[in-house]
């Protein structure tokens, strides 16, 4: 079997979160490769929407940004941003959204705004873009990010994208749809329990429970029947390396 990197494993695992026929809001980089992988394997009728307003994109090559012309050419439709956010996202017409961030907490809230104090930040991150809306309005979100103490704190410094704020019930009361369904890291795959708290569902090959505990800033729960994450197949790795990211722009290292 072909060796694979952590990033490749995350891409392949994220692709499995998509069902054929899903309408998905795609981000650039790793989520984009995951969506295109799903489209070329088990989900040929996946509909890809980008927050720039391209609906039903079918990019002939890897876009560097979510506004690349390759996402508009040959799309089903291209709409102004106000329409993609109002008619598609806010109105509940998007099944899955991909998110990442600098930090995530035990309720799946994500921070992509600042590290440290908002008024006097240690690190100023890019901010929401469409992330706050994606987290609030899709029917489920899939989070992809590296797993470390720094990135999995007890509490995030800024909630850019709300998870199960106040639990599943609290989230519902805020009028928010959906919520995080899966968090895929370089160590494990997490889901969320009935209260909306993160729970480890599968460990990647050669990753121990202790390693996940060590990389998480709270006493994270484990499912009773923690599985081992299915490794990528040769076919999947081959598709990524030869067709989806041939220059290794997003998959060239294993740091994610």
């Amino acid at each position: 079997m072909t060796d694979y990197t952590d990033t490749e494993l995350m891409i392949v695992r994220a692709a499995k979160e998509l069902e054929d026929g899903d309408i998905t809001l795609v981000g650039v980089g790793v989520p984009n490769i995951a969506c295109n992988l799903a489209k070329r394997t088990h989900a040929p009728d996946l509909e890809m929407i980008y927050e720039s307003g391209t609906i039903g994109s079918n990019p002939s090559k890897l876009p560097l940004s979510i506004g690349d012309p390759v996402l508009a050419t040959g799309a089903r439709s291209v709409v102004p941003m106000i329409e993609s956010f109002e008619y598609y996202l806010q109105a509940g017409r998007i099944d899955v959204g991909f998110l990442g961030g600098a930090q995530i907490d035990r309720w799946g809230s994500l921070n992509s705004t600042v590290i440290g104090d908002y008024e006097d930040p240690t690190v100023r991150l890019p901010g929401s873009g469409g992330a706050c809306e994606i987290a609030s309005n899709t029917h489920r979100t899939v989070v992809i990010m590296p797993h470390s103490q720094r990135r999995f704190p007890e509490e995030v410094d800024f909630v850019t994208s709300p998870g199960y704020v106040g639990g599943r019930e609290g989230r519902k009361q805020l009028g928010l749809r959906g919520g995080p369904a899966a968090v895929i890291t370089d160590k494990a795959v997490m889901g969320f329990d009935d209260d909306g708290e993160m729970i480890v569902e599968s460990l990647h090959p050669n990753v121990t429970t202790a390693a996940v505990l060590d990389a998480t800033g709270w006493d994270i729960q484990f499912a009773e029947d923690v599985a081992e994450t299915t490794p990528p197949t040769d076919h999947e790795i081959n598709l990524i390396r030869t067709e989806l990211d041939p220059n290794g722009i997003y998959t060239g290292d294993s740091s994610g």
């Binding site: 650039v28 980089g29 927050e51 720039s52 307003g53 391209t54 876009p63 560097l64 940004s65 979510i66 506004g67 690349d68 012309p69 996402l71 508009a72 050419t73 040959g74 291209v78 709409v79 102004p80 941003m81 106000i82 956010f85 109002e86 996202l89 806010q90 809230s109 705004t113 908002y118 930040p121 240690t122 690190v123 100023r124 890019p126 901010g127 929401s128 873009g129 469409g130 992330a131 706050c132 809306e133 609030s136 309005n137 800024f158 909630v159 850019t160 994208s161 709300p162 704020v165 106040g166 609290g170 989230r171 805020l174 009028g175 928010l176």
Partner: protein, 305 residues
């Protein structure tokens, strides 16, 4: 009535110190040539606004034109950090800068409210997030109806003093055909007091009138029309030239320090008189690499009535 101007004249007439200036275009059709002209003319104390600050805001910040930045995503799209922006926010280099921050939908909704003449826009965002604690312009209102959530977030209308927007083509009156990713360009044009429209080419009015559905910006909201081919480089114009992704990757190195950014401005903005000289300075091979193939939309029949 013609509204055609050269870039330098349009910018000096339209943009004054201390004004709020929206730069339209989501990744696509970013008004780089107009931004460079502002840097050359040295307008000061501007509140610069766009969803994605992009390299043009790193350049405006480094040149000392901006005192406030309103935005929703401050990154180098597809590459990583926007370093000039970070230096200003984290370390006050070259000077302190005020920021006002939204999500994409929040900022675009502000423009749409401005375009519609409404004082605010409601949206299903921000509840459960930290925005409500850190931006006093984002507020909540009670839902006055029975259906839906009890409370909604609202953002105030945005009506910038000036919007600089680009399109592929327009007639001399400013009726503009726009295609590909249109982002928030139309909302910005309708929301602003003064509109500078920069196009790849000025065409005969009959070209515009042959396809009225493609006219997204009417000349009635446009004040200045500037023809500036390649005026979006290193951003792109759908059907005319591709995004210069190399330039975005290179910017990550150029913008490593304030000094190296200033050096770049000296060479590529201050030392050239206008966009034509900028283009002459760029390697022509670079432009050849950015030429797309043709992909004509099938002709439609508007019918003759």
């Amino acid at each position: 009535m013609t509204k055609r101007y050269e870039m330098d004249e349009a910018i000096s007439k339209a943009v004054s110190d201390g004004e709020q200036v929206y730069f339209g275009g989501f990744t696509h059709l970013i008004p780089f040539a107009a931004g460079h002209e502002i840097i050359r003319q040295g307008q000061k104390d501007l509140e610069v606004v766009r969803t994605t600050p992009d390299l043009i805001f790193d350049q405006l910040i480094a040149a000392g034109c901006a005192s406030k930045l309103t935005f929703s995503y401050a990154g180098n799209p597809g590459v990583g950090s926007l370093r000039g922006f970070r230096r200003a926010v984290e370390d006050g280099v070259p000077h302190e800068i005020a920021i006002e921050e939204y999500s994409h939908f929040g900022l675009v909704s502000r423009l749409a409210a401005g375009a519609k003449g409404l004082p605010f826009a409601p949206l299903q965002s921000y509840r459960g997030s930290s925005y409500l604690e850190h931006n006093e312009s984002i507020r909540t209102i009670e839902n006055p109806y029975d259906e839906g959530p009890n409370e909604l977030a609202v953002v105030p209308a945005l009506s910038p003093d000036v919007a600089i927007v680009r399109a592929q083509r327009a007639d001399a009156e400013g009726n503009a055909h726009l295609w590909g990713i249109t982002g928030e360009v139309v909302e910005a044009a309708f929301a602003a007091e003064t509109v500078v429209l920069v196009v790849e080419e000025v065409v005969d009015r009959n070209v515009i009138r042959s396809d009225p559905n493609r006219t997204r910006i009417p000349g009635t909201v446009v004040d200045y029309v500037v023809e500036e081919p390649y005026g979006s480089h290193p951003s792109y114009a759908q059907g005319y030239y591709d995004r210069d992704n190399e330039a975005y990757l290179e910017w990550d190195k150029i913008s490593q320090s304030h000094e190296s950014t200033r050096d770049w401005l000296d060479e590529w903005v201050y030392s050239v008189a206008n966009r034509t000289e900028y283009l002459e300075k760029l390697d022509t091979g670079r432009f050849l690499n950015l030429q797309p193939g043709t992909g004509f939309a099938t002709t439609i029949d508007m019918g003759a009535y």
